[in-house]
Structures are given as C-alpha cells and as structure tokens.
Symmetry: C2
C-alpha cells in the first residue's frame, strides 16, 4: 500500500466532519478499513445505510482496539470523556487525532488519558457547512481548505507526518502552529464571527417594532448572510465558546471597541471615518478570493429565483 | 402598448442598481425609450459600450426633460442635489422614484425640489450584490426580491400603481409601508448587518497577534462570509449610515445589549443560555429559505475548489 494509506482508521462521531472524512478516506484510498463509532443509534443506522464504513459500533473501546489512526469528531466538550473511555483499548503505535475547533483545551482534555506509545496529533480542518449529521458530509469538503495541526512539544515527528499526509490526501493544505496561537487565530476568523451572527439573528427575532415576517422578507438586504452560520450545530458551538473563552472574550473586546468608535462616527456624522473603513475592508476580500478561499462570483454564486412573471398578463 | 409600459424612462446613476433596471426594463419591455444619466464620463462610456440605453448624457436636466418616469439611482446623500438640478426640467405628469436604502431622509431631500404636477413615489428594491458599477448589473437582479414603496401621504394613487407595476415587471414583489417603518426594518435587516460586517473585517485587519495572511488563509471558518457585504460600495454605505442614524443607533443598541449578555454567558460558563440561543437562531434561516429569499444549498451553493491532488504522487 502507498505510504499514505492507513490500515485501520477509526472515526468517533459521524457528523458532518466525521462522515466527510469517512467518505474522503474511502474515495481517495486513504484507509484499508474504516470503523465508524457513534453512541447515537440513529447515526449508526444512517452510517450503515449510506455504507460509510466497514464496521459501525457504539462501543468506543472495541471500535478503536485495532485502529492505527483514531480521529475524534465529537464536540470539543466531549473529547475528554471519549479519550477516557478508549485510552486503555488503544494499541501501541496508534495515532490519535481530532478535528476540534479549539485546540489548547482539547490537548488538556485528551492527553492525560492516552497511554505511552500512543501519539496525539491534534488537528483542525477549517471547513464546514451549516448542515449537521452523517447525511450532510461529502468527500470534497476539505479540498483546497487549510487543516491546522497543533502537535504538543515532544510529539513523534513520524506521527505528525502521517496525519499531515492523511489530510493532504483529503485535499487539504496543512499548516502547523501552537495550540494557543491556533485558538487566537480561530477566535477572530471563526468564533467571534459565529458569535455575532448568532447574536444578530437573536436580536432580530426579539424585536417588537419589526415583525419576524418582515425580518424574513427583507433579509436579502444583508441579514440572510448571517443566518447561514447562525444555523450551525448548537452543541458544537456551545462547546467552542466554553472552551476558548479567553481568546473569544479578548477578540470580542477588540470588536466592541471598534464598533463603539464606529457608532460614535455615525452619531457625530463623521463620513470620512466611515468611508475610510469601508474602503479598507474591500481589500481583504480580494485577498481571500485571490488565495482560493472564496468564490469571486457575485453573491457567493447563490442560485437566483426563477424568471420574472409572464409578461402576457400584466398585473396593472 | 401594455399598461405597464413607460414611454420614456430616465435613470439617473448607472451603477449596479441603475444598470440592472436599464437591462431589465429593456429585456422585459417595460419602457419604449431609456435615457441614461450619469455625471461620470467613464460610466457613460460603459453604458454606451454595453448598449444599456437609447441616450446617455451627463446633463440631468436635459436627460429628464421628456421622461415619464425618472428613477434616481445615486447614493442617498446625493439625491437632494440631483432633485434640485432636475426639478424645473420635469414635465407635468412625470413620476419620480428612487432606489435608496433609506427613505425618510430621501423624502425630505427630494420632495421640496419637485414642481406641482410631478408625483414622487420613493422605492427601495431589497436586492444587490457586493459589486458596483454598470458592468455589475443584470436583468434578473430583482427577480423574486421585495421592493418597498413608501409613498408619502397624499401621493397620487395612479402614480404609485404605475411604479408598482414597473417593479412587478422587473420580477419584484411589492410592499408598501411608511418611510419611518421602512428605515427601522432595514436598520435591522440590512444596515446593522453591514455595519458589523465592516467592523469585524476592520478589527481583523488591525490585529497584531494574528497576521493578515492568517486571517485570509483561515477565513473559511466563518469570517469570509462577512467580507462579502463588507466589500459593498463605500460611498453608498457611508450615506446610509449618515442618513439613517437614529434607527441604526437604536438597533445597534439592541445588538450590543444582547452581545453583552452573550459575553457574560461565556465568561460565566452558562452553556444552557448559549445552547438555547443557538438552537433558536436556526429557525429563522428555515423561514428565509421557505420564503424563497435564500438558497437551501449548503454553504450558499458556493463553488468549491478542484478535486484533491493526484493520488499517484503522495507527498509523504
């Protein structure tokens, strides 16, 4: 088998990310045998119906016993309990990884439960959609996206290289950094954006002067963009904010300072300050498009409604 | 000609919206003659090259002289000056409309300059993309989108019906409300979303601990969604905030109160409060999709990067 192939891959948690890894690993020949582990019988039934794995079980210890690579794809608040349940069952030489959106707390929660002879290479593929569950995954989810590895000091270099090769096999571009720096970077590129999206959707829902029906009808003015990430998995995101509290509050503090300055510019009619910021922010999107992380198509390339009504019967 | 057809349509300002109206009016047979008016010679050159109008001029008074319907498609801060320049040239029985994202200030700025015998029917099509200029427009921009009319008390009902029929001809769904209510509704569905998008992109650009390159690379975690509306036209948006100050600051105050409560829940580890909000916000997106104002496709149906690298040459 090629050097990148894993003999037995165990995936714990077959949601959007876990099921996408299973599909990609199969499609790109990255693992000989795939074991799917999930405690939810409904998920296991879908995994079997979709043929996502060779074996599907709710017994994490039994499931990981023969695995060469175990990837934890559960909410970050649950990784510690899973690591505890499976630690003793891992074979010597196994590599454990994860896909959590927070890294320092995952290292702290998982590492103590892993026996000697097992390497831990934390990972975070920066990819996803607003849908959840095993039916939402697809094999190209990670194609052209970054995957960040945060191996703690002293991690076996061969194990890190193995995990890197696996993610490259899924089409990702791999970068390595410390868990702490990861948590700071993702606080601004992912966690605070989600927080303010959840927040504005909540604010809009709670107004008295504007009805929910009006919010929905006139959402194409900008609001609807925010509803996409505000439709993401609630449990996953609760855990992200609880486990990356310090970095999120730090970045949120910056956001609030800047927003206060912007509100002041509006109140005092400082058009130049507004125009200067609004001109500057165009540049960053161009960089994101140039780096292949965003489409250049107008409006994300959204599908548009059908053509205008039949001209043969004008309404007036 | 059908009742909905306008004899001579004059469009002042051939940006994204104005050029889309020109294209739609031609394509759907809504106007016999189209006059394009713009003070920018570069825009006029593109209008001629694209064949968007029968006549293109930088002289607003001459351009509107024979028009039955005049639509102002300039930034809301400029409508007063345009109305002043063209008022005396309007023919009796002409209808003036606009497309501004703010309505109370537009009514105040335009109405005083219009002679007796000219009706003013302010309008706001809730549609757009992040691109600007005459090349960015397209005839189906308004298809399936709402257009809000805010005729002041005493507006000629036949004039309002004419404008409504015109927008329906472009594929829009028309709703009528007061200028003041419009400004409140749009503050939450459009203006504040733009403000916080501009703001977070600015915050991210100014960090010292996270590089701009990292922000760009890892933007697929959520941040990139915000960069789309933060790439909108700076002059248009400066004017929106300056002319809808009260409603924007009122809605921003609500947003800030809610965000402070959310930050507090994070600081004190109140996972239940977070989960409750994050579950509630999913519902609104479902309503928007159900009403045809948003695609149900994952990730807005964004085009994805190409397939994964060739498996024949593994990198490790």
């Amino acid at each position: 088998m090629p050097e990148t192939e894993i003999d037995t891959l165990a995936i714990v948690g077959l949601g959007l990310i876990g099921s996408s890894i299973a599909r990609g690993a199969r499609q790109y020949g990255l693992a000989r045998t795939i074991v799917a582990i999930d405690r939810d019988p409904g998920v296991l039934a879908r995994v079997r119906a979709l043929g996502l794995a060779d074996t599907a079980t709710d017994d994490v210890a039994a499931g990981v016993a023969g695995a060469d690579l175990v990837i934890l794809c559960v909410p970050v608040g649950a990784v510690g309990a899973v690591a505890e349940a499976m630690g003793a069952a891992l074979k010597s030489g196994a590599i454990v990884s994860d896909v959590g959106s927070v890294k320092a707390s995952v290292v702290a929660a998982v590492a103590p439960h892993l026996p000697d002879g097992v390497a831990f290479v934390p990972a975070h593929p920066v990819a996803g959609t607003e849908y959840s569950g095993p039916d939402a995954g697809f094999s190209t989810l990670f194609s052209g996206r970054w995957c960040i590895l945060t191996p703690p000091d002293g991690t076996d270099a061969a194990a890190s290289a193995r995990v890197q090769a696996f993610w490259e096999g899924l089409g990702a571009i791999v970068e390595t950094m410390t868990p702490e720096h990861h948590d700071l970077v993702l606080a601004i590129t992912s966690h605070v954006p989600h927080l303010i999206a959840f927040n504005i959707v909540g604010t809009a829902a709670d107004l008295e002067a504007v009805t929910q029906s009006e919010v929905i009808k006139f959402s194409a003015g900008g609001f609807r963009d925010f509803t996409r990430i505000a439709a993401s998995d609630p449990t996953m995101w609760r855990d992200v904010f609880l486990t990356n509290k310090d970095a999120v509050l730090e970045m949120l503090g910056r956001f609030n300072e800047d927003l206060a300055a912007l509100a002041r510019a509006i109140r005092w009619g400082d058009g130049d300050a507004l125009h200067e910021l609004f001109s500057r922010t165009r540049t960053i999107r161009k960089g994101i498009v140039a780096m292949g992380q965003e489409t250049a198509e107008a409006d994300f390339g959204r599908a548009r409604p059908g053509p205008v009504p039949d001209k043969a019967s004008p309404s007036v």
